[in-house]
C-alpha cells in the first residue's frame, strides 16, 4: 500500500520554493483561475464584453480630456493608440495588484482549512488579469489597423516579448509582496487603491516621458518597472529607447520579483494563523 513516499512536517525553515511541489499542484492554478474568471462575469448582461469595454471607455475618456482638450503630446502617434498602448499594460498591472493584494484575505476560509502552496492564489489572480490582457490586446491590434500605424515588425519580435516579461515579473513580485503584507497589516487594503491611483500618473501612460526636461526626473520615474515595459512596447512604433532608463527599470523589476517572492515565502507559513 505504501509507496516510497515520505515527507516531514517541521517548523518552517526559510527554504526557497519547492518547485516540484508546485508542479504537482499545477491543476490548482487552473482551477483557481477558472473559478475567478467564471465568477467574475456571472449574472452580468454584457459578460465578457466588459473586458473590451473597460479599456476602450478609458481610452475614449483619456483621448477626449488629455488628447483633445489638454493637447498632451503623443510622440507622433495618434493619441488613442498612444494611450491604449500604455493602458494595456497599466490595466493588467493594476488589476493584478488589486486582486492579488486582497486574494489572501478573500481566500482566507480556504487557507485556514486546507494545505496547498499559497503562492497559487496570487498567481491565479494575475492569470485572471492576463486573460483580460489578451482580449484587450486583440482590441489594441484592431485599433492599430484602424489608424494604420506604421510598425517595425522586426522590432516587435525583440521588444514585445521583453515588454510582457518585464511587466509580468514586476507584477508578480509586487503582487506577492502586497498579498503577504495585507495578511499582516490590513492597512494595505486602503493603501493599494490609493497607490495605484497615484501610479497611473507617475507612469508615462497618458503622457510621453519627453515632457520632463530634466534627465534625473526620467531616471527616477524609471524605477517604476512598468515604465520600462511600456517603453519597450512602444518601441516598434518608432519611439526611442533610453538604455539607461531601461536598465534601471529592468533591475528594479528583478528586484521586485526576488523581494516579493522572498517575502511571501518567509511569511506564508503563518498565514493560516493570522489571516
Amino acid at each position: 500500500m505504501i509507496k516510497n513516499f515520505e515527507y516531514s512536517i517541521e517548523p518552517s525553515r526559510k527554504k526557497f520554493y519547492n518547485w516540484k511541489e508546485l508542479w504537482q499542484y499545477r491543476e490548482l492554478f487552473y482551477f483557481f483561475t477558472w473559478r475567478d474568471v467564471k465568477v467574475k462575469y456571472k449574472q452580468t448582461v454584457l459578460g465578457v464584453v466588459w473586458v473590451v469595454l473597460q479599456p476602450l471607455l478609458s481610452v475614449l475618456i483619456f483621448t477626449l480630456f488629455f488628447g483633445h482638450a489638454l493637447k498632451v503630446p503623443s510622440a507622433g502617434l495618434p493619441y488613442p493608440v498612444f494611450v491604449f498602448s500604455g493602458l494595456l499594460f497599466w490595466t493588467v498591472f493594476s488589476a493584478s495588484i488589486n486582486a492579488a493584494g486582497n486574494s489572501m484575505i478573500s481566500n482566507a476560509p480556504i487557507i485556514k482549512k486546507i494545505y496547498f502552496p499559497r503562492i497559487i492564489i496570487p498567481i491565479s489572480s494575475i492569470l485572471v488579469s492576463s486573460i483580460d490582457f489578451l482580449i484587450s490586446f486583440i482590441a489594441f491590434l484592431l485599433l492599430l489597423l484602424y489608424f494604420q500605424v506604421s510598425i517595425d515588425f522586426v522590432a516587435i519580435v525583440f521588444f514585445w516579448p521583453g515588454a510582457v516579461i518585464l511587466m509580468l515579473i514586476s507584477t508578480l513580485g509586487m503582487s506577492c509582496w502586497l498579498a503577504a503584507l495585507n495578511v499582516k497589516y490590513r492597512d494595505f487594503r486602503f493603501v493599494i487603491p490609493f497607490g495605484l491611483q497615484i501610479g497611473l500618473f507617475i507612469t508615462p501612460v497618458i503622457y510621453p516621458i519627453s515632457i520632463f526636461q530634466n534627465v534625473w526626473v526620467s531616471r527616477v520615474i524609471a524605477i517604476n518597472p512598468l515604465y520600462g515595459a511600456i517603453m519597450l512596447f512602444r518601441a516598434p512604433f518608432g519611439l526611442d529607447i533610453n538604455s539607461v532608463e531601461l536598465t534601471i527599470s529592468t533591475l528594479s523589476g528583478l528586484f521586485f520579483l526576488i523581494w516579493g517572492l522572498y517575502y511571501f515565502r518567509k511569511t506564508e507559513a503563518y498565514f493560516a494563523d493570522i489571516a
Partner: protein, 403 residues
C-alpha cells in the same frame, strides 16, 4: 511495520496579542518603534506530543474543547507549522477539516464538485472518473447546473459530503464534521469511512460524538490542555476522558435536601463520583453511603429521562418490602439493568424517599448519563426507520409444526 505517521515532540505556541485582533495595523507597528513593545502572552496549544500511527489504523482523537485537537490536526494537515518537533508522514494525505472547502456560491453544483475536489487534492481526471458516483451519492442530480446559492443548506452539505466521501488518500484526517447534517446522511458517511478503514486506509478522526468514534476507531489518543494524556484502545481513552471530564462537579453538590433525617456521604455511579455517568452495557450500579439520623424507612428511586421531560425508565425498588434503617451509617448497593437504550445523552434523577410518604432529598436534572451502546450501531445504521429512545425487545417464541 513502519508507522505511517510518526509524531515526534510536537509543540505549538501561539502569541496572544492583547489587542483584540490577531493581525496588527501598520500604525501600531509604527507606534511600536517608539515605545517599548507590549508584552505578549504566550500560550502553548500543544505541548510535547509524541505518538505513532500504524498503517490501516483508525485513530480517534478525543479531548474537551481547547485541548488542542484541532491544532494537532492543522499541523498534521500542514496548514500551520509546529513551533518545535517533527512529523514524518509516509503516505498521501487528505484532510477534511471542513466540508465544502472552496465552495463558491455563484458556481453551479457541477463546477463546485470540480473546485472542491481539486482543492481537496483530487486530480481532474480522478474527479471526472468518479463524477457520476459523487452525484449519485449526493442525490442532488437535478440541480447540477443550478448555482450553489439556490441550494438549501442541506443540499450543499450533501454535495460536500459526497465529494469528501470519494477522496482516496492513504491517510484521511477528519475533524468534527459529522456534527451537522441529517442523521440518515451522517450514517451513510460514517459507513463510507468505516468501509475505508476496512481497506487499509489510515483515518484520524476527531469528534465529540463518542459512540461514533467507538464504532469507527480501534485506537485513541486523549488530549488535555495541550498534552497527550493517554494513547491506547479507544475504549480506554473514552473511559479516561469520561473520568477527567467534569471531575470537579460531584453528584453530592447537586443533592437538594428537604428533610434533615438523612445525610448522604458519597454516591458512586458506575465507578464515578462525578455528575457525568457513562453507561455501556445497559447496567447501572449505584453505591450510596448514607447516614440516618433516626430510625426510618428509606428507599432510592431512580428515573432515567430523555430530553429533561420524557421518563424512559424508573426503578421499582419501592415495590420491595419497606426497609427500616437504624440511625447509623450504611453503604447500600443498587444494581439496575436498564432497558436497551439507544446511544445518546440522558439525565439521571435520584429521589431519596421515605416510601409512600415524602422525599428526604432529590437530585434532579443534574446528572448527565451518556449511553454508548456500540452493539446497536451496525443495526441502527442499516435502516432508515425512526427509532425511539428505548428498544423494548419483546419475548418471541416460534413453534414449527410439520403438516
Amino acid at each position: 511495520m513502519k508507522p505511517i505517521i510518526e509524531i515526534q515532540n510536537i509543540s505549538k505556541r501561539f502569541l496572544i496579542n492583547h489587542q483584540r485582533l490577531p493581525y496588527v495595523t501598520f500604525r501600531e507597528k509604527l507606534a511600536g518603534i517608539f515605545q517599548a513593545s507590549e508584552k505578549k502572552e504566550t500560550f502553548w496549544a500543544l505541548h510535547d506530543i509524541s505518538f505513532d500511527i500504524i498503517p490501516g489504523e483508525a485513530v480517534g482523537i478525543i479531548g474537551s474543547n481547547g485541548a488542542g485537537k484541532s491544532t494537532l490536526l492543522k499541523i498534521l494537515s500542514r496548514i500551520t507549522p509546529p513551533t518545535t518537533g517533527k512529523i514524518i508522514c509516509r503516505g498521501r494525505m487528505a484532510s477534511l477539516l471542513e466540508v465544502g472547502t472552496g465552495f463558491h456560491q455563484e458556481l453551479s453544483g457541477r463546477e463546485n464538485i470540480f473546485m472542491n475536489g481539486s482543492i481537496l487534492g483530487m486530480k481532474k481526471s480522478e474527479i471526472s472518473a468518479r463524477f457520476d458516483e459523487i452525484v449519485d451519492f449526493s442525490g442532488v442530480e437535478k440541480f447540477l447546473d443550478t448555482p450553489l446559492k439556490y441550494f438549501s443548506s442541506g443540499m450543499q452539505l450533501r454535495l460536500a459530503f459526497a465529494v469528501a466521501a470519494h477522496l482516496d488518500p492513504e491517510i484521511l484526517i477528519v475533524d468534527e464534521i459529522l456534527a451537522v447534517g441529517d442523521m440518515e446522511f451522517q450514517r451513510k458517511c460514517l459507513r463510507k469511512m468505516a468501509d475505508a478503514t476496512g481497506q487499509g486506509r489510515t483515518v484520524l478522526f476527531v469528534s465529540h460524538n463518542l459512540p461514533s468514534l467507538k464504532s469507527i476507531c480501534k485506537t485513541g489518543a486523549l488530549l488535555r490542555d495541550g498534552k497527550l494524556v493517554k494513547t491506547g484502545s479507544i475504549k480506554e481513552c473514552i473511559d479516561a476522558y469520561a473520568s477527567i471530564h467534569h471531575r470537579h462537579e460531584s453528584i453530592l453538590d447537586s443533592v437538594h435536601y428537604f428533610q434533615p433525617f438523612i445525610v448522604i456521604k458519597k454516591i458512586i455511579i458506575n465507578n464515578t463520583e462525578s455528575n457525568s455517568v457513562l453507561v455501556e452495557t445497559d447496567d447501572l450500579s449505584i453505591s450510596l453511603y448514607v447516614e440516618f439520623k433516626k430510625r426510618i424507612a428509606f428507599e432510592l428511586d431512580v428515573h432515567v429521562k430523555k430530553d429533561e421531560q420524557v421518563i424512559v425508565s424508573y426503578s421499582n425498588f419501592v415495590k420491595n418490602d419497606v426497609r427500616i434503617f437504624e440511625p447509623k451509617e450504611y453503604r447500600i448497593d443498587y444494581s439496575i439493568h436498564l432497558p436497551e437504550l439507544r446511544s445518546g445523552k440522558y439525565k439521571l434523577d435520584l429521589f431519596f424517599t421515605e416510601p409512600f410518604i415524602s422525599w428526604f432529598a432529590v437530585s434532579e436534572n443534574t446528572i448527565d448519563m451518556e449511553v454508548v451502546n456500540s452493539h446497536h450501531h451496525t443495526f441502527l445504521n442499516s435502516t432508515s426507520l425512526k427509532w425511539g429512545s428505548v428498544l423494548a425487545t419483546g419475548v418471541y417464541e416460534t413453534k414449527i409444526v410439520e403438516i
